[in-house]
Symmetry: none
Subunit: 201 residues, 4 copies
């Protein structure tokens, strides 16, 4: 939204950055208000004052546009705290993660985006590269430090541990579709750390 944006209403070329910004703003608004299925090229073009041609030039599918719009406006916290206590840090990070997931209810933007990614390879790629894989890397890195510090055993597979923690939340959200509450985080972390077997030795 540059200052001159509102004035310039011709049909000619506008700076790409300006167009992109307006398109992402419109797409993000539609996503939050009416859900992912409402994010169509047709509607975004109309509400952003853009043309369909432009959208097709920049994004491979409506889903991919929605994903980028979501990233753009709710810049997800990617910082992973390191207080020295891995248990506390995991609980903190997972708690804010659960808050992110449950924002907008069970049919929130995140579940819709992950869902649509199962049917839209372009969205899937955007999602994995921009969101999912970097976050896993972040978590794994925090766990690696803890492992070096002796808080975790040497033979722990850190990827699997990430899967256990974050996957458990996704499981309730996407597969079981049961209410996901922050209170599960603490027992979840503890159980992952302590194990379920009676004799851990």
């Amino acid at each position: 939204m540059s200052t001159s944006a509102a004035v310039r209403r011709g049909r000619g070329r506008r700076p790409a950055a300006e167009v992109r910004a307006e398109v992402l703003a419109a797409a993000g608004r539609i996503l939050l208000e009416d859900g992912l299925t409402a994010v169509t090229f047709e509607r975004v073009a109309k509400e952003a004052g853009a043309s369909k041609t432009t959208l097709y030039k920049w994004w491979p599918s409506p889903g991919a546009l929605a994903a980028e719009a979501y990233f753009a406006q709710s810049q997800p916290l990617l910082v992973f705290p390191d207080s020295g206590d891995v248990r506390a840090d995991l609980i903190a990070q997972l708690t804010s993660f659960v808050r992110l997931l449950t924002a907008g209810g069970a049919a929130g933007p995140v579940s819709q985006l992950i869902g649509a990614a199962q049917l839209d390879p372009d969205l899937a790629r955007a999602w994995s590269e921009t969101y999912a894989l970097p976050r896993r890397e972040l978590g794994r890195e925090r766990l690696r430090v803890a492992q070096e510090q002796g808080q975790l055993r040497q033979d722990v597979d850190l990827d699997i541990m990430v899967d256990q923690l974050w996957g458990a939340c996704y499981h309730r959200l996407l597969v079981l579709r049961v209410p996901l509450e922050e209170s599960v985080v603490e027992p979840l972390v503890d159980q992952a750390l302590r194990g379920a077997a009676r004799h851990s030795a």
Copy 2:
């Protein structure tokens, strides 16, 4: 597929069961061949020799039809072995579960159905009630027995444990979209049982 199905080509009434069977067969075939997005009422009606009116009467959405078709033809093994050794049983069950998920690749029917369920409440309900929740119940029950037998600690939250195990697999399949291999099952189960912390006490 009744014997007379191919002969009877009139527009009059046919037995409901016969129609349903043919519809489900067609939907299942389309699902496996061309994916979930190809399972439209339009196409199923044409290939099953049914009418759209009939489909709308029995199923609330194409996704729900696809889900039921999938259940009907690949009756998922719901039996949970109980050999007395909970670790071995978990490994066995999770291994066949991974096989189910990876059938048809990362874009297999299961991931597509779960994905579409995030956008289609009717499909979500069918999926949860028919598939996801019963399976969780089954797993929890097996764990409960193990807990009673003293193989698991008393303070373990069995729901969370199911989330940790199955959710870890779903995490790789749906969220990370990385190859899901059977070899992860054993370390996954062990890590859930033993815990990750150095001093489990």
Copy 3:
């Protein structure tokens, strides 16, 4: 415009005849108001409350639709008078023909339709079969009677004579694009009958 047409505003099926009538009315109105290029499937569908699918089912191209709409609403007089005097009849018929052509100016519906027919085979077919060829047949028939009655020579090629008379008008309208006035009709007919050579023998 059936009596119940205005009431029935659902999305379901409507009687084909009713839809066709409304579509043709809208197309004809657009043709007269804004010209042939404004007769697009998109606009006709919107203004007629019809769907594009329906238009594509009934008409092969917007031009063909416009042609049929033109025929439907301005049912062109196809009666050819026979007063016994072929000269008088030709003048009468050509005069009303010139009036038809010049209705709406040089860019009237007729010239636009004939023009578009040079680029749209579907429109060309509709125009030839429905309008042009029948009219030529009518004129030729009238000339044939005159020939039998001895008003025209036996060796006159009646097709060519039709071309000379009607073609002369079309020539000014389409090719030269000069004003076409009714006053040319009488000298045109006389010249065709008497010939231009000094010694007609």
Copy 4:
């Protein structure tokens, strides 16, 4: 096609004449190969290595460009023979005219251009001024000489006579869309000269 045209492939300024020549060549080629509807600014710009901006500067519409391209490459013979015998000259001129019209089939460039002119004022103007009116003037002049020489009656309207002869050909080409053969020329000329009425006096 200047000698350095092929070498100079930068984006900077090129001589106007060179650009115009390449554009007209490309437009003419497209017109003959794929028809008038294929002569779009978009495609001509690409194939001529020119930019749309340049095309818009020189031509008001794709149709006008196509017309000029047609004139440029098939310089139509405008010489009208004067052998002293007006009948022979008319037959000769009309015969080559029919050949011109039928080149490229019934949907040849000429009929397409005249057709499009009914919908494109810019093309209409270019066509009338450059082609149609000069040709009529030429024919009329030849007839005027014949009239002075006493081969045609004094009261003959020469404009109408031109309309009768050339219009008859256009009639078959544009309106009736029936095959136009050279064999019609001779009876056409004779009929125009002798008249159709039994008693020409």
